[in-house]
Symmetry: C2
Subunit: 209 residues, 2 copies
DNA sequence: TAGATTGTTAATCGATTAACAATC
DNA sequence: TAGATTGTTAATCGATTAACAATC
C-alpha cells in the first residue's frame, strides 16, 4: 500500500505529530478515534487530518473512525521507524552529548555508537553513553562500523568538513545542528535544525503581538 | 516604520534565515546585495525575498539593492534583538545544560541566569555556566529576579507544571523542548521545539525518496 | 541618461477547508 | 436499518511566482 498521491512536505512535517498524538492515545488506552476528536486534541481541522491520512491509503473505516494502534503502527512504518538506525555524532560539546544521551531517541530505535571531536578530552564530561574518539578516527571507524545517520553538532566552521567526512563514509542522512544550511545531495538527506530560529520567532512574537 | 501588510507566520519563520545570511555577508565584508544574489545564497526566489522584506517597508533602493548592514540591523530590530533577555531554564539535564551554556545564544543577548531541577544534584555535571537550584525555589526566584523567557527542558510529565510556574512567575515566553505541545495563552508566547520531529522527517525521506 | 533593481500588482500555484456521496 | 464518519471531490484561501512600472 504505497502513497497514492504524491505527499507534500507540509504533510510529511505533520506526520511526527500524528505519531506522537496517537502514542499518547494508545497510552491512555483509547482504541479508536474519529478525525473530529483527533482534530480537537491536535489543533488541526478534521478535514485536514482525513486528507493527510488519505495520502497513504484508506486507513479508516466509515462510521467508525481510525483504529489508534493500527494507524500509529502504519504511520511509524511510513516514517521508517520499523527498523533500527546506527548513528554517529560529530562534535561532543553540549548539543552532541545531549543528542547522544537522550533516551527518547534510543526508544525510537536510534542508537548512537560513537561521538567524534577535535578535542577528545571532552570524553570526561558527563558521560554521553558512548565513547568519544578523535575526529581523525571517523573515516576509519565508519569503514568498519557503517552508520545510517550522522549528527553534526560542531561549530559552524567545522560543519562542512564533518558533512564531507560523513557522506564519504557512507551515511545516508545528516542531522545538522550547526548554524549553517547544509545542502542535501542526491545520495544524502539533510535536516538543518537551526535551534536559534525558533528562539527568534519567539522574540519576534514577544515584540510584535 | 511599522509592518505595512500583516505579516504571515511563513514570513516570520524566514526572518531568522535572512538575519543569519546577512550576518555572514557582513562578516565577509560585502556591503550591498541584490535580491537576485541573495536568492542564490539562500535557495529562495528573488521575488519572494522582495515580497518578504517589503512587509516591513521599502528597505532597498532601486538600481542598487539592499545595504547589508542596514538590512541586517533592521531585521534584528524586527526580531526583537535590540535588547537583552533574561532567561531561566527548567530542567538541568543534557538539553537544559546545552541551552544554558551555548555561546551562540549569549552572543545574541540571551542570558541564562539560573537553572532549576527536581534533582539539584545535577549541578555537578559539566558546569552549565549558571547555578542550578531546586525547582521549589523557582517561584521565589522569579519574584526577585524577573525573567523574560522560560526554557522548558524537563521530561514530558513535568512540562505542564513547569509552564504553570513560569507563567505565574511572569515570564512572557516559553521555549519548550519537552515532547508535548504547550498551548500559548494570551499573555505568553510559546515555541514548541520537538527535536524528534526533524529526525523523523529525516527517516521518512531516507525511506521514501 | 541608460542600466539595474526595487516595490508592487497581477497570475499562478498549492494547501486548506467545506461539502457530501459512499459505506461501515 | 439509521447513524456515524470516512474518502474524495469541489471551493476557498493564502502563499509563491511572474511581470513590469517606478525610480535610483
Amino acid at each position: 500500500m504505497e502513497a497514492r498521491n504524491k505527499v507534500s512536505e507540509a504533510v510529511v512535517r505533520r506526520l511526527p505529530g500524528y505519531y506522537r498524538a496517537l502514542g499518547g492515545l494508545e497510552k491512555d488506552g483509547i482504541a479508536r478515534i474519529s478525525s473530529q476528536e483527533l482534530s480537537v486534541r491536535m489543533g488541526l481541522t478534521a478535514s485536514q487530518i482525513r486528507q493527510d491520512i488519505n495520502c497513504f491509503g484508506a486507513l479508516g473505516q466509515q462510521g467508525y473512525g481510525y483504529n489508534v494502534t493500527e494507524l500509529r503502527r502504519r504511520i511509524g512504518e511510513i516514517l521508517g521507524l520499523e527498523r533500527e538506525y546506527h548513528v554517529v555524532v560529530v562534535g561532543a560539546g553540549n548539543i552532541g552529548r545531549a543528542v547522544a544521551s537522550y533516551q527518547g531517541f534510543a526508544r525510537l530505535g536510534f542508537h548512537v555508537a560513537a561521538l567524534f571531536d577535535a578535542n577528545p578530552a571532552l570524553a570526561q564530561h558527563g558521560g554521553p553513553g558512548a565513547p568519544v574518539y578523535p575526529i581523525e578516527k571517523l573515516s576509519a571507524y565508519l569503514a568498519e562500523h557503517p552508520a545510517d545517520i550522522g549528527v553534526i553538532a560542531t561549530p559552524a566552521e567545522a560543519a562542512h568538513e564533518a558533512a564531507g567526512l560523513l557522506t564519504a563514509g557512507g551515511v545516508r542522512a545528516l542531522w545538522n545542528f550547526a548554524p549553517v544550511d547544509l545542502q542535501a545531495g542526491p545520495e544524502c538527506t539533510v535536516q538543518n535544525v537551526q535551534l536559534t530560529d525558533s528562539l527568534l520567532v519567539l522574540t519576534y512574537h514577544m515584540q510584535n503581538d
